[in-house]
C-alpha cells in the first residue's frame, strides 16, 4: 500500500477538502508516514475478536417517538452565513 498524489486527490474529494495540486505530493508523504506507523497493528492476532465500537456496555436508550423540542427557527438560523425567508441559502444546485 502506498499513498500517491492520485490517492490524495481521491481522499480530498471524499472529504470535501480543496487540496491544491502543489501540496498533494507533500500530503501524500505525510499520510504515508502515518499509515506506515499504523501498519504495526497488522502484527496483532485479532482472529475471532469482536470489534469494540463503544465502551458503555449498554445499548442505545430508546424514548417515546414524540416531539420534545422545536419552534426555534430564529435560533437555528441565527448563525447562518446566508438566509432568506426562514431558509438557509446555498449556491444553486440544479441548473
Amino acid at each position: 500500500m502506498s499513498v500517491d498524489k492520485d490517492t490524495v486527490k481521491k481522499i480530498a474529494r471524499l472529504a470535501r477538502l480543496d487540496v491544491p495540486e502543489e501540496r498533494q505530493e507533500q500530503i501524500a508523504g505525510e499520510l504515508q508516514a502515518i499509515l506506515s506507523w499504523i501498519e504495526e497493528l497488522s502484527e496483532v492476532d485479532t482472529a475471532n475478536v469482536e470489534p469494540l465500537a463503544s465502551v458503555t456496555g449498554h445499548s442505545l436508550p430508546l424514548r417515546v417517538d414524540k416531539v420534545t423540542d422545536g419552534n426555534k427557527v430564529d435560533d437555528i438560523l441565527a448563525n447562518a452565513p446566508e438566509q432568506a425567508s426562514g431558509f438557509f441559502v446555498v449556491p444553486k444546485v440544479v441548473e
Binding site: V49, V90, P91
Partner: protein, 495 residues
C-alpha cells in the same frame, strides 16, 4: 489581591460561606490576574461583565442562604464547550463568529451550582494537538519556564485551561480529554487534571472530536478541588445517548480514605526507553510513597499497550472525519464562495477554515473509512481496541488502581515538535489507553525535572470507580507535598 488567589476552591468556598470574602472580590481578583498574565495567551475571550453579573448573583444567594456547591467560584471554560451568547470557536477559523443559542450540559450544571464564568480558554483546533499550537489564536504558553529558557508548551489540547489554572488566571477550568488532552497539559503545568469514566459527563453541547473517546473533566489546583468540580460536572443527561445513568461514589469520603491494603498495579509495558530519567525516578518515588502509606504494589502486564497509539490514530481521525463533516459553510461559521457548485463551496470553505493538523486527521480518517480500506484499518483498530480494554479488565481483577507516569517528558519548548506529526503523537503514549478503555485517569503534580519543571504521576482505576482514583491521588498529593508555583506567575501578578 494575592491573598484571594492563594485560596484553593475548597478554601474559597469556606471563606465565601463565612462571609470573609465576597464572590465579587474573588472574581475581580481573578479578572485582574487574567489580564496581568495576558501574555500567556490562555484566554481567547474574557467575559468580565458576565462574570461580575454572575458574581453579584452569587453574593445574593450566599446572603440568602441558597448557595450552591460551587457558589461564587470563578471558572474558565475551554473554548470547546458551547456557551449561550458567548462566541465558541473550538479555536478554529471555520467557527469564526459562531455564537451558540444554547449552553452545554456540563457548563449549565456548573452555573446552576453557582460557578462564575470568567471567559473561554485556548485549546488546540478541535482539540487536535498536544501543545496547543494548532489553535487559530496561537499557542497558550506554559507559566513555567526553565531558567532563562524559551517559552514552553502548556500541552494540549486543553493548554489554555492548564496554563490559566497554573498561572492563577482561573481558580477552576473545564477541559476535554480524547487521548490525554486534560492529563498531559495538567502534568506540563503542575496542576491536577482528571478524565472521568466515559459517560460520566454529558457530551451534549461540547464540540465533538471523537465521540467514543471524548470526555469532559476538571482542571484544579489540588485533588480536593478536583473532586468538588467533578461532582458538579458529572451526571446523567438524556440528551447524550452515551451518558451513564450511574450514581456518583462518595468522593468526600474517598479523599479521606487510606490506601492501606490497596493493591496498586505497576505495568511493565510503561517502561519506555524514551522516558526522561527524572520521570523514571519520580515513578519509583510514587511507588515508594504508596508503599509507605500501606498500599501493596503488584507488577502487572498490559500487553497491548504499544498498540494503543496506532489504534487511537485510526479511531480518533475516523470519528473526527465523520463529526467534522458538518462544517460545510451552510448553517454556521465561515463560508467561502468559490466556483459554481455547492461542492466547490464546501471544498473551498473547508480548505480555508480547517488548519493543517485538522485537515491531516480528516484525510487519515476518510482514508481509513473508505471503500477497500475499512476492514484493514478501522475494523482492525476496533478489534485491537477490545484487546486493550481486555488488558485493563484483567488487570482490575487483581488490582484496585494503576500507577504510571503522566507523560514521557516534561514540557518542551514551543515550536520544536511541529515538523513531525508522529513525534507529537508520542506525547500521549501513557494517556491514550485510558480513553480507548473508557476508564478514568488523573494526573497529579508530584515532582520536578532536572531543569525545575513540574512532572505528573497518573493514576488509573476501573470504570466508575473515581472514588478509588481520588483516594490514591490524595495520598500521592500528600506524600509529594507539591507546593510549586510557576515563577513567572508570581512575577506577572506582582507587577
Amino acid at each position: 489581591m494575592n491573598s484571594y488567589l492563594a485560596l484553593t476552591a475548597t478554601q474559597a468556598r469556606a471563606a465565601l460561606q463565612n462571609k470573609e470574602i465576597s464572590a465579587t472580590e474573588l472574581t475581580n481578583a481573578y479578572l485582574s490576574a487574567a489580564t496581568a498574565t495576558e501574555a500567556l495567551n490562555n484566554y481567547v475571550c474574557m467575559t468580565a461583565d458576565k462574570a461580575l453579573e454572575m458574581a453579584a448573583a452569587s453574593d445574593k444567594r450566599i446572603a440568602d442562604g441558597t448557595a450552591g456547591p460551587l457558589e461564587g467560584l470563578p471558572v474558565g471554560v475551554k473554548d470547546l464547550f458551547c456557551t449561550k451568547g458567548v462566541a465558541t470557536t473550538a479555536c478554529s477559523a471555520i467557527l469564526k463568529g459562531f455564537v451558540p443559542e444554547y449552553e452545554s450540559s456540563v457548563t449549565s450544571q456548573l452555573w446552576s451550582d453557582g460557578a462564575v464564568m470568567l471567559g473561554k480558554l485556548n485549546c488546540d483546533e478541535f482539540a487536535m494537538g498536544s501543545a496547543n499550537e494548532t489553535s487559530v489564536f496561537g499557542a497558550a504558553v506554559n507559566p513555567w519556564s526553565a531558567q532563562g529558557g524559551d517559552d514552553l508548551a502548556a500541552g494540549g489540547s486543553s493548554g489554555g485551561s492548564a496554563s490559566a489554572v497554573a498561572a492563577g488566571a482561573a481558580l477552576l477550568a473545564t477541559g476535554t480529554d480524547t487521548g490525554g488532552s486534560i492529563r498531559q497539559p495538567a502534568a506540563f503545568c503542575g496542576v491536577v487534571g482528571m478524565k472521568p469514566t466515559y459517560g460520566r459527563c454529558s457530551r451534549w453541547g461540547i464540540v465533538a472530536f471523537a465521540s467514543s473517546l471524548d470526555q469532559a473533566g476538571p482542571f484544579t489546583r489540588d485533588v480536593a478541588d478536583s473532586a468538588l468540580m467533578f461532582a458538579s460536572m458529572a451526571g446523567h443527561d438524556a440528551k447524550d445517548s452515551t451518558s451513564a445513568d450511574a450514581s456518583l461514589p462518595d468522593l468526600q469520603a474517598a479523599l479521606q480514605a487510606s490506601v492501606k491494603g490497596m493493591k496498586i498495579g505497576i505495568p511493565a509495558e510503561y517502561v519506555m526507553d524514551s522516558m526522561d530519567e527524572a520521570i523514571t525516578k519520580l515513578w519509583q518515588q510514587g511507588q515508594d510513597w504508596l508503599v509507605e502509606a500501606g498500599a501493596e504494589l503488584v507488577p502487572i502486564s498490559l500487553p497491548h499497550t504499544r498498540y494503543a497509539l496506532p489504534t487511537y490514530y485510526i479511531i480518533a481521525p475516523a470519528e473526527a472525519s465523520s463529526n467534522l463533516a458538518r462544517y460545510d459553510g451552510v448553517r454556521y461559521g465561515t463560508r467561502i464562495e468559490a466556483g459554481h457548485s455547492l461542492d466547490d463551496m464546501y471544498e473551498a470553505t473547508r480548505a480555508a477554515g480547517f488548519g493543517d493538523e485538522v485537515q491531516r486527521r480528516i484525510m487519515i480518517g476518510t482514508y481509513a473509512l473508505s471503500a477497500g480500506y475499512y476492514d484493514a484499518y478501522y475494523l482492525k483498530a476496533q478489534q485491537v481496541r477490545r484487546l486493550i480494554k481486555d488488558d485493563f479488565d484483567n488487570a482490575f481483577t487483581e488490582v484496585d488502581a494503576i500507577l504510571t507516569p503522566a507523560t514521557p517528558t516534561a514540557a518542551f519548548p514551543l515550536g520544536v515538535k511541529q515538523d513531525d506529526p508522529i513525534t507529537m503523537y508520542l506525547n500521549d503514549v501513557f494517556t491514550v489507553p485510558a480513553n480507548l478503555a473508557g476508564i478514568p485517569g488523573i494526573s497529579v503534580p508530584a515532582g520536578f525535572s532536572d531543569s525545575g519543571l513540574p512532572l505528573g504521576l497518573q493514576v488509573l482505576s476501573g470504570a466508575f470507580q473515581e472514588d478509588t482514583l481520588y483516594t490514591v491521588a490524595a495520598c500521592l498529593e500528600k506524600q509529594a507535598g507539591f507546593a510549586g508555583q510557576p515563577p513567572r506567575h508570581a512575577a506577572m501578578i506582582n507587577q
